[in-house]
Amino acid sequence: MSLLTLACALTAPADIEDGAEAMTDTTAQTTQKSWLARAADSDLWYSFVRSPVTIVSTIVTILFFVSAIFANWIAPHNPFDLATISIMDASLPPAWMEGSDPRFWLGTDDQGRDIFSTIIFGARISLFVGFASVIFSMILGISLGLISGYVGGRLDAFIMRVADIQLSFPAILIALLIDGVARGVLPREMHQDLVFYVLIFAIGISGWVQYARTVRGSTLVEKNKEYVQAARVIGIGPLIILWRHVLPNVMGPVLVIATIHLAIAVITEATLSFLGVGVPPTTPSLGTLIRIGNDYLFSGEWWITIFPGIALVLLVLAINLLGDWLRDALNPKLR
């Protein structure tokens, strides 16, 4: 369960918003005004309040995040607490259908677990795995991109050829491969313990190329700018230059990629779980829920798979729309 507490820390709803505010920070006109006033004055906020689609997707995203973090308090039932689950409640339809139980708004699954609650807990796992793998990809991709762009030469050629090779395989294939290798190499019990880490590693490693390429491109531009040369004239070493001068100036596009990548990571996790190589059924994610429900689709209990499916689509769509808007809003050419 320590993973889930970590998940709470990672899935703070402020994450994306924070990033956005950091961007607007520098475009604000004066430094005298309060942080909030400057944010409200910024171009980003201006474009935000004029885009209803973005506002709706932000609300949806925040709802998902809040309910994922506070799942223990928000969910009406705890599907993992065996004491509260009764097999008598199994396979009840949603509340508006005949033969339903008002306690279970979206019905129950074959073991009598409340679908609404499992969706909330499932979204939590999906988001945690998604966030963790995005962060893993980001760190890996940004570091390699910075080194590649700044050092150049053979190292650059090597890193970029590796990226090219990886790009010739579909991301899901790489994730499957890594998961398969981990299953083969690790002893069974150990794999059970490490399943989350393996999953995060598998999804994360399949996504670093985009970050590396973008960051490399921006680094090539930034490293020739005079402020980097000024730092070199002072005598500052390459690591500090990269960290303090280049990195903050290449983060804009990275933020956009990260947002869209989060949606992709959630989908990848769901796909892996749907294929049965993701998270175990004891701690089901949205993908696992869809897979479990899939078996009951033709026996009439459609709600077991449809509702987690809708939740997944909503979550991914909302994050994607948010990422699209962020890309346009931060692109000076489209302003």
């Binding site: 475009t27 430094t31 700018k225 402020y227 040369q229 000024a230 002072i234 005598g235 100036n249």
Partner: protein
């Protein structure tokens, strides 16, 4: 045609007002503007950046960048109203009746099409000519703009032409359909002096011979005085004064014109200080500078007095790889600096002058350690810098030499506050005991460069170009260097700002007893600020001489050539400014 009497001018602009609506209110770029151009006349529009010069040109050809809009006034071309036309009608005028020459010849030609294609297409769009006729016309045009072997060169692509030749092609393109009016927006700003003179002569001759009217938009008084027949001086979106070039240059009436003209660095005489543009409305209060004689910054910190040269280059060579390859035989190299040797004595300002690509900036970057020389040696204070292996060994020397860069917009990290930018070298070289002392030094430095401590909390984008250059200077002074490299420190600035920044550098140089390497392509500026000058071309140092000797008695042919091309700008002078 009743209006013929009134509108006999080629182009008449009356009461023009251009607004750029934005969410923070409308920005008025141009207002109450009246101008007229006669056939065969060159009207110079001069002003500093942001004065609205380019907006006029764009409004006339109907290419205002959205959301910009002409809200008032009329534009008449030979009596026909050409403002507020629809796109189709506007396109017919553009190219056919009004030609346009842009600043950058590198980007105003399509790199994927031959010159022939671009010329023939334009000719055929506006004139009813067959392919063969259009082509022979295109060859004629290239011949007229002075391109040798036009028959052969017409089939080439833009990248096969040099910058000056490309600008000639752009001019030919503008003249394709025999326009009545040509708008030239900073046509020579991106070109070297020698090329600039040729292009200006060409434009003058073409206007005279073809009776084409021209609006020449520029910030350069020298260009105006040599080319224009009449001048309109712009300031903050308004024309403050119009008159013949002769009249404006010798007897300007408006205060702004007077101070603008007198701020142009003089090529013919060295002054103690640069005359300032005094006419600046609502100029901000400048904090009093510090008295450097008593301040810590002015205190001598150096370990020993040196007797020899502070900086010495011996056969310094810089070779760049222009094509990488695994096999050494397939690699291509460019020798940017070829075996250059010179020495800079303590306390002097050494100038390097030359056209673009002559290797000036490369030398600056070799001395400051951004590039590692591929041959020869660079000695600083008796130590061979090229022999120092580690960064740690070089650090004490790095502290003693600092650099000011050309582009004020890219030389400051946009994500750092001014205080962090200036404190960074202080912390790096451990020149303060604690954060508080570093902060104090930073505030003092901001005072020294005339910005004041309130600038500390801001980000670079909140400052103008000149102010940013001051921040750059403060950063360079933060390590208390004895040697300062200035790489074209003012070439991106307006004349008035240039004067302020150069005065600041001059003051600091004498008060702090700095040794300076001053790089510029601008001979008048070199004359004003340098003690000795080296002339460079194609990576070679041709001549080194004391400034006055160089200007009065140049030895090398190339130096003579450069001096001959220097704009002979003898404008209005404020006698009280001449010491």
């Amino acid at each position: 045609m009743k209006a013929d009497v009134e509108h006999n001018s080629l182009l008449t602009i009356e009461g023009m007002r251009v607004e750029f609506p934005s969410r923070r209110g409308h920005v008025v770029a141009v207002e109450r503007l009246d101008l007229s151009v006669e056939p065969g006349e060159i009207l110079g529009v001069v002003g500093e950046s942001g004065a609205g010069k380019s907006t006029i040109g764009n409004a006339v050809i109907g290419l205002l960048e959205p959301p910009g809009e002409m809200t008032e006034g009329t534009i008449l071309l030979k009596g026909d109203r050409i403002d507020h036309l629809d796109d189709a009608a506007q396109r017919k005028i553009r190219g056919a009746r009004i030609g346009m020459i842009f600043q950058d010849p590198l980007t105003s030609l399509d790199p994927l099409q031959t010159i022939e294609r671009q010329l023939v297409d334009t000719i055929q769009r506006h004139l009813n000519l067959a392919e063969a006729e259009a082509r022979s016309r295109a060859v004629d045009l290239l011949d007229q703009v002075g391109i040798p072997d036009p028959d052969v060169r017409i089939a080439q692509y833009p990248h096969q032409f040099s910058g000056g030749m490309r600008q000639r092609v752009v001019i030919a393109l503008a003249l394709c359909a025999d326009p009545e009016l040509v708008i030239a927006d900073e046509p020579t700003t991106a070109l070297d002096v020698s090329v600039q003179a040729q292009i200006l002569d060409l434009m003058k001759a073409l206007c005279r011979d073809r009776q084409v009217g021209m609006i020449l938009i520029t910030h350069d008084m020298g260009v105006i005085s040599e080319t224009a027949d009449r001048v309109a001086v712009m300031y903050r979106g308004r024309v403050v004064e119009t008159g013949t070039t002769q009249q404006i240059m010798s007897k300007p009436t408006h205060d702004y014109t007077k101070s603008l003209i007198s701020a142009v660095p003089r090529p013919d005489k060295r002054l103690k200080r640069f005359p300032l543009v005094t006419y600046i409305e609502d100029a901000e209060e400048r904090p009093e500078g510090l008295n450097l004689a008593t301040h810590w910054l002015g205190k001598v910190r150096e370990e020993h007095k040196l007797t020899g040269n502070l900086v010495e280059l011996k056969d310094a060579h810089m070779r760049f790889i222009t094509r990488h390859s695994l096999f050494p035989s397939r690699r291509l190299y460019l020798d940017a600096v070829k075996d250059v040797s010179f020495a800079i004595q303590p306390g002097e300002v050494f100038g390097l002058v030359g056209e673009s690509g002559s290797g000036k900036s490369t030398i600056a970057r070799m001395i400051t350690g951004i590039y590692k020389p591929s041959g020869g040696s660079i000695t600083f204070d008796g130590t061979d810098m090229t022999a120092l292996q580690s960064r740690a060994a070089a650090a004490p020397f790095r502290r003693q030499m600092q650099m000011i860069f050309q582009d004020p917009f890219s030389s400051l990290n946009p994500r750092m506050r001014v205080e962090d930018i200036i404190e960074e070298p202080i912390h790096f070289h451990k020149m303060a005991y604690d954060q508080q002392e570093a902060r104090q030094i930073m505030h003092d430095l901001l005072d020294v460069v005339g910005l004041g401590a309130q600038a500390a909390r801001k980000f670079p984008h909140e400052f103008s170009g000149g102010q940013r250059q001051r921040i750059s200077i403060a950063r360079a002074l933060a390590t208390r260097p004895r040697f300062l490299v200035c790489d074209e420190p003012t070439s991106a600035l307006d004349v008035s700002i240039q004067a302020q920044v150069l005065n600041l550098l001059k003051d600091l140089q004498s008060e702090l007893n700095l040794t300076m390497l001053f790089i510029s392509h601008d001979l008048p500026v070199i004359r004003q600020i340098c003690d000795r000058v080296g002339v460079m071309r194609n990576g070679q140092l041709l001549e080194v001489a004391p400034t006055e000797t160089l200007f009065t008695d140049p030895q090398h042919d190339y130096t003579k050539h450069l001096l001959k091309l220097m704009p002979k700008f003898r404008g209005f002078r404020m006698p009280e400014l001449e010491a």
